[in-house]
Amino acid sequence: MNAVLEQISQIFLDLGASIALPILITVFGVALGQKFPKAFRAGLMIGIGFIGIGLIVGLLFGQVGPAAQGLAARFNVNLDIVDVGWPASAAIAFGSQVGAVAIPILLLLNVLLLAVGLTKTLNIDLWNYWHFAFIGGLVAATTGNFLMGIAVACIAMILTLALADWAAPKIQAHYDYPDISFPHGTSAAYALIASPLNWVFDRIPGFNKLKADPDSIQKRFGIFGESLILGFGIGLLLGLAGFGLDEPRADIIAILGLGINLAAVMVLLPRMVAILMEGLIPISDAARAFVTKRLPGRKFYIGLDSAIVIGQPAVIATSLILVPVALLTAIALAPLGNRVLPLVDLATIPFIVALMVPIFRGNIVRSVVGGAIVIGAGLFIATALAPSITKVAENAGFQNETGGLISSLVDGANPMTGLFYLFGNMGWLGIAGLAVGSLAFAVWVRIRGNARVAAEAKAKEPA
């Protein structure tokens, strides 16, 4: 069994994601009942998206590398790990050994969990299965064991579904989305961390009374929300810091060049993901139809992308403030061992705070402080994971001639990624520990949920 799997995954590595994924997606689409031309077209689109992302990541590397080296030489600030952001992380995840088979396996697992009643969320947001594939891909790459990677991806899915169920009542009440939950690999873990933080914040005299108004923050910090301006501005600053102005003519040209190139990366990288996404839509639709037909009449939460809460004023305001905060935090933590320079994922901060905000009951001051804490701590996780992420990226066919390291805030800095990576690398015993912990949490959430439903039913009964 294992030998066959290793053979398959070796073939996959040899082909590279941009060839192998189109084939797999076509086969998967046909298996779900799609006509061949439609499935094949979808497969090709995914391959094209891959190639596009690879090109832009190459551009990012070529541009940031020299400036980061200059920064290290001139200021002794060693921020040499490039944050390639979620667009590249997602592509790396789907392009990893685990990613290739993640969608069908995880979808089946989700249906199984619903059938036995352990979790209540049907995660129809197939795109975001990349978070689980990312964790699994990292473990598979470092242990060299494909099955371990799959196991870790599955456990990450179980824990995330349980987290989505746990947070659902609070989030549904705060945002007013009935019957929706957010089994989002990035956001869900942070919701759990926000809970004890909120308990602490409630008990700090003075601080527990602070509030801020989202509208005035949006007006003042709005500029940090625009990717192209943000990319250009950071490019100029990084260029000035990295190249200096010793030779004004050459340096100004280099600085302006870095500005326009980083602006280009911030705008083009997400566009490439949109192509990847377009290829995934037919599969996602077919899978949803396939599952809902087989689970008729069951009541479950519909699991969606936490992107849909990002427009909430408190989430926008929090994220805007956190952009400069994250940059300054990264520089301040450099002497303590952080090597990640936040770049592409400065535009993804909303996903980190999306589900923390409702736990903080929409309080922006708390959300900013909580967000800064998890980002600051996360930078060390992202630094520690960088060699593995770089390796998985190379396996997926992202060539990196400069030999530098890559990482990301989403999900490279995620505490769940860090935890699963740590235990996954302890071998099967560690993985068993993860499984027991995650299942225990799921059971606890389920019992608690049942008790609440019973209490609500009792309250409705006539006295």
Binding site: G222, S227, P270, A274, I281, S284, T292
Partner: protein, 91 residues
């Protein structure tokens, strides 16, 4: 030709789902439209030049362009109704 701006949290993920569905539906009805995608953070400082916004996430109140909620495209519940509303708005 009417211009529709599809907005979500990233300008990439869920808005692509919505944009593809609107494009397919309008093409099947013989309605010519142009669709752009964007992320909600880009709207904070205002936007112009579009006839309709379809969004999967809340839109800042300062935006004066008509907005249709597109959550149904993601849940799969009530899609026909939303598509009818969109067709009505861009006719």
């Amino acid at each position: 030709m009417k211009k529709i701006l599809v907005i979500c949290g990233t300008g990439v993920a869920t808005s692509t789902v919505v944009a593809v569905k609107i494009q397919e539906h309008c093409a099947s009805q013989g309605i010519q439209i142009s669709i752009a995608q964007g992320k909600v953070m880009d709207l904070v400082r205002g936007v112009e030049g579009y006839d309709l916004i379809v969004a999967t996430t809340p839109i800042p109140e300062s935006i004066k362009i008509p907005v249709i909620q597109g959550l149904s495209f993601l849940t799969g519940i009530g899609v026909e109704r939303t598509l009818e509303d969109i067709v009505e708005a861009v006719k």
